[in-house]
Each structure stands twice: as C-alpha cells, then as structure tokens.
C-alpha cells in the first residue's frame, strides 16, 4: 500500500487545531480542576521541557551529558534571585548578604526567565569546549562532575546562592500558561531545528562524527550549538520549576534530578522528541500513582503499610528492566507525525475492509 503524505496546509491546520484544543483543555483545567491536578499539569509541562532538551543533547546529537541538573539549577537560581522581593532577600540571606546588584534587583517573571536561560546557555558554552574533547564514557563522567560541581559551588557561595539554606518564598509566578507556553516554544524550536539540515547534521554527528567531519560538518561547533540550545531551555525549565515549588536549595539538584529526566527520556525513546513528551507525561503521572505505595493503602480488606522510598526503588527497577528488555523505549527514534497517524488510520481501515470482502 502506497504511503501518502498530507499537504503542508493540511498539516498546518491539524497542528493548529491541536494547539487550540490543548489551549481549551488548559483553560478548562485552570477554572475547574483541583490544585493538585493543576500542579501535575504544570509538572508535566516542565518535565516535557527537561526531557526534550535532554533527548536533543543526548539522543539526537549523541552527546552523553549527565550534567543536566546543573543547568536546571543555574536557571532556577538566576531567575529566583532576580524575582525575589528585595526585603525577602534581606531576610533570607542570614550568613552573608547578597551581592550587589542582585540585592537591589527585583524584576518580573518573563525577563527573569529569559536571563536565566541565557546564563544557563552561557555556562553551557563555557563548559562545552573542554568537555566535548572527550568521548562517550569520559564525557558522561565529566558532565556528571560538572553538574555536581555546580551544585557544590551553589552550596558554598553564601553571598550569591545563600549556600545550603537556599532560597525560599520565591514568588509563585508559574502557572499553566507559562509552563505550557514555554513547553510549546521549546518543542517547536527544537523540533523545527531537528527537521532541518541542522537536524540531519546533528544526527550524522551522532552516527559517526568522523564521517561527519569528512562530509564538511564542523562537528565541534555543532555540538556546542546543541549543548547551548539545550541548556538555554533547560535553564528556563529550571526557572519555571523554581517558581512552582517556591523553595530551592542545592539538594534539589543532585544527580537524582538528571536521573529522573534520563528515565523519562529513555522510556519515551532516546532520540525522539515525541518520545520525550510521552515519557515525561507518563513519568510525571506514574510517579504520582506510585506515591500510593508510600502511604498505607488497602485493596479490599487487606491493608498494605506504606513504605517510604519505594517509589524510587520501583523507578530504578523500571529503568533497569527498560534497558534490559526495551532499550528503544516507546518511540525508539521515530517521531509522531500527522503523516504517520494518517497512514496508520488508512491501514486500519484498509484491513477492516479487506476482512469484510
């Protein structure tokens, strides 16, 4: 059966309807859903940003970076330091006062997010050059070390980050429009890039960077670009996250965070943007379901006592099983597309017609 492609106009309108549909659902949620559901929806969007950026850097470009938590941390801290009211800063910074000019600054959410993203991207740029000289395993360890180093620095620079005390009473600016809006932008930008010549170049670098060089691609500058773009949006995700949970400290950005994003991405398929979205959604919701395990619950007349920490045990077991039996994840490296969906529907219709005949 011939594979049909939908016209660009059709695809555009389909996407438009999808976006409007989601917007409408969010609108309904905002006005009718409980705070808990809204929290989950916010988390899903933020995790979508984290997972998409990780799959972009790790899965599509092939840079096995384990330092994602570091860039999220930078975004979180920078944005919070910019938006915290001045009096709050004076109150929180007990050990050492916050340095100038941060202690006199108080700005609104959007510019703070942008600056957070830019600072994160800047760090990505600085870090990229030395790190990308390494391959595979060494790169993984180096980026892990970098992520941890950022956290240790945050823990010790009392005059900037308030050290181990962290920041609290961060204004709760995050809402469904911000999170889903940024999630859209992130996915749109990265997907648009991946579907262009640059996307092919990045994948070529992933497949065989030596051959990519031989085909005229400046591998290093493209890897840096990927890293910087990924950390930009990761930083913004961090900003959104900080203004959602309103309290951050260095312990929130331990390697566990990168690990969680890794699970999301691998679950959805490392190297697929649609996979990252699906993985993020399933993980976020699944994590909440697993919360059940940690509190006492009953099935029928049997009561199971809650076991704290069981969630992470199950999650890590999940990752191991995934890697052993289903390495490709849900989407593998493929993407969801209107064409794909259309052809799938046609095949189903075709086969049911065939049965009747």
């Amino acid at each position: 059966m011939q594979r049909k492609t939908l016209s660009t106009k059709t695809q555009f309108f389909l996407t438009l309807f999808l976006v409007l549909g989601i917007w409408f659902l969010l609108f309904l949620a905002k006005n009718n859903a409980s705070e808990y559901v809204i929290l989950i929806l916010n988390l899903i969007a933020i995790n979508v940003i984290f997972a998409t950026t990780l799959t972009f850097i790790n899965g599509i470009t092939g840079i096995f970076s384990l330092g994602h938590a570091g860039f999220i941390a930078i975004g979180a801290y920078v944005s919070s330091l910019l938006t915290l009211p001045i009096e709050q800063k004076e109150m929180s910074f007990l050990i050492k006062p916050l340095i100038y000019p941060l202690n006199k600054v108080e700005m609104s959410f959007f510019p703070a997010c942008i600056i957070a993203g830019l600072v994160s991207a800047l760090f990505g740029y600085i870090v990229a050059a030395p790190s990308l000289r390494l391959i595979g395993d060494y790169l993984a360890i180096a980026t892990l070390g970098l992520g941890e180093t950022i956290r240790i620095i945050a823990n010790n620079t009392w005059s900037i980050t308030n050290g181990a005390l962290g920041l609290k009473a961060i204004p709760p600016y995050t809402n469904l429009w911000w999170t889903w809006g940024w999630a859209f932008v992130t996915v749109l930008v990265i997907a648009s890039l991946v579907k262009s010549s640059y996307g092919r170049a990045l994948k070529a670098i992933r497949e065989d960077s030596l051959a990519a060089k031989a085909m005229g691609i400046n591998v290093f500058s493209h890897q840096v670009m990927s890293f910087v773009l990924g950390s930009f949006f990761a930083g913004i995700g961090g900003a959104l996250w900080a203004h959602l949970i309103t309290t951050i400290d260095p312990k929130s950005f331990m390697f566990v965070k990168t690990f969680e994003i890794l699970i999301m991405t691998v679950l959805g398929g490392l190297g697929s943007i649609s996979g990252a979205i699906i993985g993020a959604a399933i993980y976020t919701v699944g994590l909440e379901f697993l919360r059940v395990l940690e509190a006492p619950f009953s099935i029928g007349s049997i009561t199971f006592p809650g076991i704290p920490g069981m969630r992470m045990v199950v999650l890590s077991l999940l990752l191991i099983l995934l890697m052993l039996f289903w390495r490709r994840g849900i989407m593998g490296r493929r993407e969801l597309s209107w064409d794909g969906l259309y052809n799938l529907l046609r095949r189903i219709r075709f086969s049911s017609r065939g049965d009747r005949a």
Partner: protein, 262 residues
C-alpha cells in the same frame, strides 16, 4: 577539461606514530582530471596518506597544497569545503539515516554562516527553498548513481555493494574537485568490480572530478588508472603508468618477495 594543471601537491610528507614511520617523505602530485592510483602491500601507509591529505592527521614534516592553497594543518571539515572528499575503507555510512538523508547531509556545508540556523528554525522562505533544493539535488544524485529506488530506506538496510555505492555518492554530494576512494572494490565479486570500474570512469566525466584510488585489486587499478604510485613501508618505490609499474622489479619484489622470477 584540461588535464594539465597540478591540482594536488604533496611535498615531502612524513607521518610518524611513536617509533613507526607510516609515511616516509612522500613527494608526489596529481593533475586536474587525472585518475591516479595508490597501491602497496598492507600497512604500506596508503590510508595514512589519505588521512593526512584530508586533515585527519597532521604530518610531522612536509606540506600539502591543494590548488596552491596550503591545507596541511587545516581541519577535516574545512578541507572538504575546499573540495576534497573521501570514502572510507570500512564503510562509515550514517546507518540510522535514510539513503537520501545521507546524501543531503553532505550538502549541509553549503550553509556557510550561523544565520542559516535561525532561518532554519523559523522556516523562512529562504530556508524552505534551500531545503527543497537540497532534496532535489540529493534525489538527482541518487538517480545518477542508480540508488533512487532506495531513497527512503535506512542506509544500514542496503546490501553491501549498494552501501559502497552510497559511500561514494555521499562523498560526491559535497561537490568535490578531488575524490579519494579507499579500497572501493573491497569485498566485490568480478561482475561488481567491472561495474565499479565503469562507475568510476563515468563519475569522473559526469562530475568533472580528479580521482585518487587506493586499491588491492590489480584489475581495477591497472584498468582505470592513468598513473600509479607504489608505496612500501611508507616510501614511494615506484611511479608510472600501469605498464611501467607491472614491469618494475621493485614493485614485484615488494608484493611477491625476492625469489620470484619475472
């Protein structure tokens, strides 16, 4: 096409790896439009020379001049932009990409500045037009080499002979002036080898190329090359036309050992 000017000049190039001298004062040249062969026993330094020319290795001594430009220390991707492309001894296709994508990647070097990045993300008319052109050029190239039927298949799914052809097509897509082929006939049966020889002659004319071939299959080398360099232990031991090389005692000794009688 004038088969006269010197296209590539390799001046006394030496490359060492620790104590081993892989290429020993190689001094040679190539003319525009020439079909040049590079032969020698295994380990003679042929692929190393390719790697030096294409910038993967930097020579310890000597210079490489391409169209009178010194490319000795330039990085590989820049050398490709100057117009030198290569294939690999062990096929290095982009396995997970389709055949068409493999040849479109080679055109990425046309996007010369980072402005194209923004144009690509924003999908400006200019970017869309460039993408269309790349696709058309890619499909045309595939047609030229007989791979159109496989355009949307994953590169790794092709049979071996076609993968070899895709390797060459991918290099051609960078619009080179000089093409370096590293053992293109490896693993081919006699029929495929004949087709390959015709193929190489054809692309030389169609794409106005100069071609440098490393090969072990003497039929191929003697059949298509106009001039041949013979390498042994990194040194040139002979240079000349196929007829001259076949009679050269040093060459025979290198390949077959001293005791063989002509």
């Amino acid at each position: 096409m004038k088969i006269s000017e010197v296209l590539l000049r390799i001046e006394e190039v030496t490359k060492r790896f620790g104590g081993l001298v892989a290429v020993d004062k190689f001094d040679g040249y190539m003319r525009t439009g020439e079909l040049l062969g590079l032969i020698g026993p295994n380990g003679a330094g042929k692929t190393t020379l390719f790697n030096v020319i294409t910038g993967m290795y930097i020579p310890d001594e000597g210079r490489i001049l391409f169209q009178n430009i010194d490319i000795t220390r330039k990085p590989p991707h820049e050398i490709t932009r100057y117009g030198i492309a290569r294939t690999f001894q062990n096929i290095r296709l982009f396995s997970d990409l389709t055949v068409l994508e493999n040849v479109m990647v080679s055109q990425h070097l046309r996007l010369r500045n980072w402005l194209w990045l923004f144009r690509s993300i924003l999908k400006t008319p200019g970017a869309l037009k460039m993408e269309r052109q790349m696709k058309i050029k890619g499909l045309k190239l595939l047609e030229n080499v007989g791979l159109s039927d496989f355009a949307y298949e994953k590169a790794s799914s092709l049979p071996y002979g076609l993968q070899r052809r895709l390797e060459i097509a991918r290099a051609l897509a960078t619009r080179p002036k000089l093409l370096l082929l590293d053992e293109p006939a490896a693993g081919m049966n006699p029929q495929e080898t004949l087709e390959l020889m015709d193929f190489i002659r054809k692309i030389r004319d169609t794409f106005e190329l100069s071609i440098l071939v490393i090969e072990h299959d003497m039929k191929v080398i003697m059949g298509i090359c106009e001039r041949i360099y013979v390498l042994d232990y990194g040194k040139i031991i002979a240079e000349g036309t196929p007829e001259q090389i076949q009679k050269d005692p040093a060459v025979i000794k290198a390949y077959l050992g001293e005791e063989v009688v002509l």
